[in-house]
Symmetry: C2
Subunit: 411 residues, 2 copies
Amino acid sequence: MAAGLLPPEPASLNPVRGVAIGTARAAIRKPGKRDLLVVRFAPGSLAAGVFTRNRFCAAPVLVCKEHLLAGTGGIRALVVNTGNANAGTGAQGLRVARETCAHLASMLGVKPETVLPFSTGVILEPLPIERLLAGLPEALEAGQDAGQGWLEAAEAIMTTDTVPKAASRRIQLGGREVHVSGISKGAGMIRPNMATMLALIATDAGVSRPVLQRWVAEVADLSFNRITVDGDTSTNDSFLLVATGPPGNAIDRDDHPDAAPLRAAIEAVAIELAQAIVRDGEGATKFITIRVEGAQSVPEAAQVAYAVAHSPLVKTAFFASDPNLGRILCAVGYAGVMELDADRVDLHLDTVHVATRGGRHPDYREEDGQRVMRQQDITVRIGLGRGGHAATVWTCDFSHDYVAINADYRS
Amino acid sequence: MAAGLLPPEPASLNPVRGVAIGTARAAIRKPGKRDLLVVRFAPGSLAAGVFTRNRFCAAPVLVCKEHLLAGTGGIRALVVNTGNANAGTGAQGLRVARETCAHLASMLGVKPETVLPFSTGVILEPLPIERLLAGLPEALEAGQDAGQGWLEAAEAIMTTDTVPKAASRRIQLGGREVHVSGISKGAGMIRPNMATMLALIATDAGVSRPVLQRWVAEVADLSFNRITVDGDTSTNDSFLLVATGPPGNAIDRDDHPDAAPLRAAIEAVAIELAQAIVRDGEGATKFITIRVEGAQSVPEAAQVAYAVAHSPLVKTAFFASDPNLGRILCAVGYAGVMELDADRVDLHLDTVHVATRGGRHPDYREEDGQRVMRQQDITVRIGLGRGGHAATVWTCDFSHDYVAINADYRS
């Protein structure tokens, strides 16, 4: 059902030096599924992350933040389980997340704070830690030399996803080949407010901690923080950026000659992974780009774009290929920009000019709107006529299958 | 499909002195449907209204506001059409709404500003005024003596509604019998931000204009402003309160002996009409009361209640009778109360204590949650542990039929 999304070609995914990937079947929720991922990083690797702003932040997210703040950003391993979010689990949940890190750290002979835990799945249920720990040896054994393992990693973190999500770039920096590869997951409970659980991007370039931390936030704002499936900000959103490269010639400032091309490659991978989540949105049949221009600020533009992207009426109209486009104007009107002058609002559907000055454009014909609505990929462009700022949000339509998937998710 | 909602018994609906009701089939959108309503009011009747805050406010809403502000609140008639919202129609839409009032006023021999127009239906399409005007004589003829016409009026304003919505109270004020009757419509695009299109409540008591204006806002905040079906605030929401009683002994202050019982009767009718809209929400199979307590303010409590009420994941879980209650905590967490301490949050489902201190309650058993989830009427009670304020929001579940109804609405 995913809107124009195919599984990535394994050959297109570059191994990243200093990264070893292994997975296991730990029967966290149900037996048989590959539900445990361990990624190991070479000594000297650095990480920076952004995490959900949901106040019911999951236990592993709290532990990730502790560990990233406690040390110098050094990372030696991360461990991801699906099937259980370890969220809404109180003090017991925190204990279990810390114990997971300590256990894996002792197996690897590294410090516990260089291990980061991630969980995704059902909320409000205790994480069966004994099964998780029992699965670790298999994941470590499988991961002895797994530079090619990105696809397997992407598969291991899927929940209601129908397609594994991985993306990769290879660039030349000063005559040396550098790789950027990443994975993501997510199909429902997607309205990231920092990033989405889980996205991991690794590069074998060397990048200093402050630059890495700035980039992870900037890139999140242009990728994972600009997508929505259902408006539900998860308890577990996490986006981690890891650099395994040697500290010798690390990129430590934005005017470093390698900074711009590497930053661009990371952003390209992040946008590709973020858009893949939307294309695989629960029940999605269409991929919708909502571009709001002429706003007084970027947050104002994003606010309007999200109002349109979250409207169930707009989303069901896309599903039906019905050019019932007044629903879009209605959502613009209630987006919360109280000084908005409806008479200055413009609406385009791809290149079709639908509305101008608060009413239907004189040249607009329903068959033109109908033609665009039938496409799989559609761009909605809204002009507010208030200023020079813009924002883009990506979303999907709302179909029968969204209800079916979410009414049946736990059964 | 309406969740526990039956059509009102005609005998339970009281005629209101000074109110005459008539309807017609004007073929506004499609032939055959009763789609035009005219309500006439005796000389001396007063009206007050609250209207949508959507910036794409429909033309008839703008004209209603003009007319109510221009005069002394006197009202002699209102006219409602379904099938076309006259919204997103620019200057032409305004002209048509004003012309409708002028035309009806001249037929009745009253001033145009004592006539109020209302429209509901598709947005962004020109209102076929010639068909509307052609239907007026039939509506006026039918309405010569229609004190009993509330049910017919409720039927005439239905769009995707499956059940007509009308409610009534009869009270004794100083030995005199006084009536309060009203109608409402709405099933989708329901997240009123003043009131919902259209609710009309009339009483044959006498009430002064300032008291009427205060009551309409206060009552809206406790009824129509506390319901949501899909979070889409309509362009046409309107709630009108009319008093036809003699000005002689009008209620002109809150300590008037008749004020409290009349205000209570009006509030009871408004809540009944508002809840009927939720029970008839598009595709609704369940009626959910969301009560948030322990907030620092009423707006804060309402903000959290709406986040839960709008979550597609929560709504599909109710549809499935699946006690996947972590989804509720997740929505509480992203509701935007940034200082919320998750460890103080409490969750009850009816009398079942589900969560306490950020985690599952030790006595909670899934079969208890399951039992409540299977009911048609469910109360979710959330304690924030931050203060002494509370708010209640009513909503419905999210079913396959919501998608079916909205993907097919115009076909």
